[in-house]
């Protein structure tokens, strides 16, 4: 079997969902068209409904018609099918040390036992990450796992959490947070709690807290504010960072790949051979964006906004000054 298989086709998934609904009550052509439109690709509704209604002898013959209502030819709901590849993939993740963040010991044992005869799809030893920090989170620490699970529960149950956090300097902060998501960074191999601090029932700025620095966490009985997601969206910086990119040293490919994490808009200027890119970001990610842009060297130039540009220019000016001082010292020696 190939990876790219019709077994996983979106069309089969849609048909499966239609069959499940059609077992509850017979469907009209319009009902079927509605499900296809909701679950399909943009153009799926052009062709699939006609095939399901067996129009023009080109149908799939999965639904039978009686008085313009459709019912399945099957005897029961379509079962969930797990391919060998999928079982092997599950086996690979069950062996991953991060799996214990999600499952307790007995669940881990159950999966190990049920998948005992299955070969993992890949062996993690055959993979290496480079340019990765060397202080990833300690996933095997029971306290870390407990904190992870409590935060996950807070998000799933839509509750406020009380967090005690220890900063890099050893200062402790206890505060209420509306947990938004658990953010994972592959580069740092760390989880961060992405959430909004709540004081006296009002939302106060976005935080990203390293899970490894959270000392305690408790789920409260209050619900998260309903407008949490839209509040966070509003915190996006009003002006994008604008940069000009040259294709020197394969700059386009390098920069576009690395910045594919960010929402961005780009335009190529045929006259100058340069690309203009607007990068949208949140204030909490500003420092990281700044040093990422510095890492590209003279292949990019920051155009604006002024407040961001000033920070970058300040760094470059300071560097120029340091090199000048070093040159002068060498000259005087």
């Amino acid at each position: 079997m190939e990876f790219f298989s019709e077994i996983h086709s979106r069309y089969f998934y849609i048909i499966s969902e239609i069959l499940k609904v059609a077992f509850q009550e017979d469907l009209s052509g319009k009902d079927i068209g509605g499900i296809v439109a909701a679950l399909g690709f943009a153009e799926t509704a052009v062709t699939l409904p006609a095939k399901l209604l067996n129009a023009n002898k080109e149908g799939y013959y999965i639904l039978k018609e009686q008085s313009a209502r459709y019912t399945p030819v099957l005897k029961g709901d379509p079962p969930l099918l797990l391919t060998e590849y999928q079982k092997r993939w599950i086996k690979a993740i069950v062996k991953d040390k991060r799996f214990s963040l999600f499952a307790d010991e007995s669940q881990c044992n159950d999966y190990e036992r049920l998948l005992a005869d299955i070969e993992p799809l890949y062996d993690s030893q055959h993979f290496i990450n480079v340019d990765m920090a060397n202080d990833g989170d300690d996933y095997e620490n029971p306290e870390y796992r407990r904190i992870f699970k409590v935060i996950m529960q807070g998000i799933q149950e839509n509750k406020i959490i009380l967090v005690t956090y220890e900063s890099g300097k050893g200062n402790r902060l206890s505060a209420y947070f509306a947990p938004y998501k658990l953010e994972y960074s592959s580069k740092d191999d760390k989880f961060r709690l992405c959430g909004v601090r709540v004081r006296q029932g009002r939302m106060r700025s976005l935080y990203k807290l390293n899970l490894s620095r959270i000392r305690s966490v408790e789920v409260m009985e209050y619900n998260r504010p309903e407008n949490l997601a839209s509040y966070i969206k509003r915190l996006r910086m009003p002006l994008p960072v604008e940069i000009e990119i040259t294709n020197e040293r394969n700059g386009f490919e390098r920069i576009f790949t690395q910045l594919s994490n960010f929402e961005r808009v780009s335009e190529y200027d045929e006259n100058t051979g340069k690309c203009l890119m607007k990068i949208y970001y949140y204030e909490v990610d500003e420092m990281e964006l700044l040093i990422t842009l510095l890492s590209f060297g003279p292949v990019i130039k920051v155009i604006g906004p002024d407040c961001f540009k000033e920070q970058l220019v300040g760094r470059i000016a300071r560097q120029k000054q340091l090199f000048t001082m070093t040159d002068e010292r060498i000259d005087s020696e």
């Binding site: 996983h8 069309y11 099957l74 580069k187 390098r254 190529y268 470059i316």
Partner: protein, 416 residues
């Protein structure tokens, strides 16, 4: 655009276009020169269809440029997984996909002939215009699904009897299923072949929104089939052959190599295969996204020796460059860091500086030293300390001088 179909037979057809839309986002129709304009129009229309909601476009003097713009920290699942859901199929494929499990679930242990009769009598007899299927067609699909792991067979004399395989989810508690599905949402975005996990969650109807991701490169999913084939070749200590479509050469080259490790640069987003190149007799790395038509060739007796060689060299490689230990390059960077107010910078040097050493040599002054195969590979990281570098020295004078010249050029951009 007569004859346009939304689904496709071959994944490679859209692999390159999707990457270009996703990664670059500024190219117009005329920039795609490898294939015809007609081909571009069809692929663009398909990708627009698969990624509706994520695709944006702008019109400028050069024409319409299509791009996929996403902030990965806002997404819980990879929109590019949709590309793997676009495989075309025949009407018989569809009929059998749904009817065979339905028949075998109620009647385990049937032969292909039995299945064909039940299909005709109980499923298709209600249609006047359906052409009945022959046993061979049914048997082929039964065998295909057995190979895919969905069915199992038992031989009775010369005849195969088919049954549905029990699903993993029927054998564990609902809590254990929920734990697994939550784990799947995380892992599908961070481990190879994550799309397989996405299919599980999709089919179970689980769309929870607990995780978000920084520093993940969604276009990696486009190379998943290549990655898994290579991982299996490494496990089997086998050589592979592939066509390498490097940007540097006009025509693809055919390479036969012994694969050793798959490398992801988690900062830059590039992925490589480190190999022992049989022709050049040395370690060599290739970009995964440049590989096409990959096949596994044969077992190699050299695997263990070459892997040991690589393992000894890995600590001295910043990325994917390897050489002889006698050719290691020395780098020394003096940094200005106020350890009281800027301890986080010192920590960053230690956490990201690999096996380099950090030593305090004066007030707010730290010396970072390292030996690497290729100084050039660490230049982007060194640049992140711009504004703090008191001096930089190294045995590769060309790269060090270029670093200094680049800093001056950067200053000149802002009229300093």
């Amino acid at each position: 655009m007569a004859g346009f179909t939304e689904l496709i037979k071959n994944f490679d057809k859209i692999r390159d276009y999707t990457r270009e839309f996703f990664v670059y986002g500024y190219k117009c129709r005329n920039d795609y020169t490898r294939k015809s304009g007609r081909s571009y129009d069809n692929e663009r229309r398909r990708i627009e269809s698969y990624l509706a909601g994520y695709i944006k476009w702008e019109t400028n003097s050069r024409g319409k440029n299509l791009f996929i713009s996403t902030d990965t920290s806002d997404l819980s699942e990879n929109p590019l997984f949709s590309m793997w859901e676009a495989k075309s199929f025949t009407k018989n494929d569809c009929l059998l996909h749904f009817c065979l499990p339905d028949i075998l679930k109620k009647n385990p242990g049937l032969t292909a002939k039995d299945v064909t009769s039940i299909l005709s009598e109980e499923y298709l007899s209600c249609f006047n215009d359906y052409e009945m299927l022959d046993v061979m067609t049914v048997r082929n699909k039964l065998n295909e699904y057995t190979m895919a792991g969905l069915f199992s067979t038992q031989k009775n004399g010369k005849t195969l009897h088919y049954s549905m395989n029990e699903t993993l989810f029927d054998q564990v508690t609902p809590d254990a299923v929920n734990s697994l599905l939550l784990a799947v949402q995380f892992f599908e975005n961070v481990v190879p072949a994550g799309v397989l996990g996405y299919f599980i969650r999709r089919d179970k109807g689980k769309r929870e929104d607990v995780f978000s991701f920084r520093h993940i490169f969604m276009s990696h999913t486009l190379d998943d089939e290549v990655v898994i084939t290579i991982a299996q070749a490494i496990a089997g200590k086998k050589t592979i052959r592939f066509e390498n479509y490097s940007l540097r050469s006009k025509a693809p080259s055919v390479e036969t190599v012994l694969p050793l490790k798959i490398v992801t640069n988690v900062k830059h987003g590039r992925r490589f295969l480190i190999t022992y190149n049989l022709r050049q007799r040395r370690l060599f790395s290739y970009r995964l996204d440049y590989m096409k038509n990959l096949t596994v060739v044969e077992e190699s007796s050299m695997h263990d020796t070459k892997l040991t060689d690589l393992t000894e060299k890995l600590p001295f490689s910043w990325g994917v460059a390897f050489g002889k230990k006698a050719q290691l390059e020395q780098v020394e960077v003096m940094l200005h860091i106020d350890e009281l107010t800027e301890e986080y910078v010192l920590k960053r040097v230690k956490r990201e500086g690999k096996n380099g050493s950090v030593e305090k040599v004066g007030k707010h002054t730290f010396l970072y030293r390292i030996e690497v195969f290729d100084t050039m590979e660490m230049v982007p990281w060194l640049r992140t300390f711009i504004g703090r570098i008191i001096s930089i020295k190294g045995s590769n004078k060309t790269v060090i001088q270029r670093f200094i010249d680049d800093s001056k050029r950067m200053a000149s951009f802002y009229e300093m």
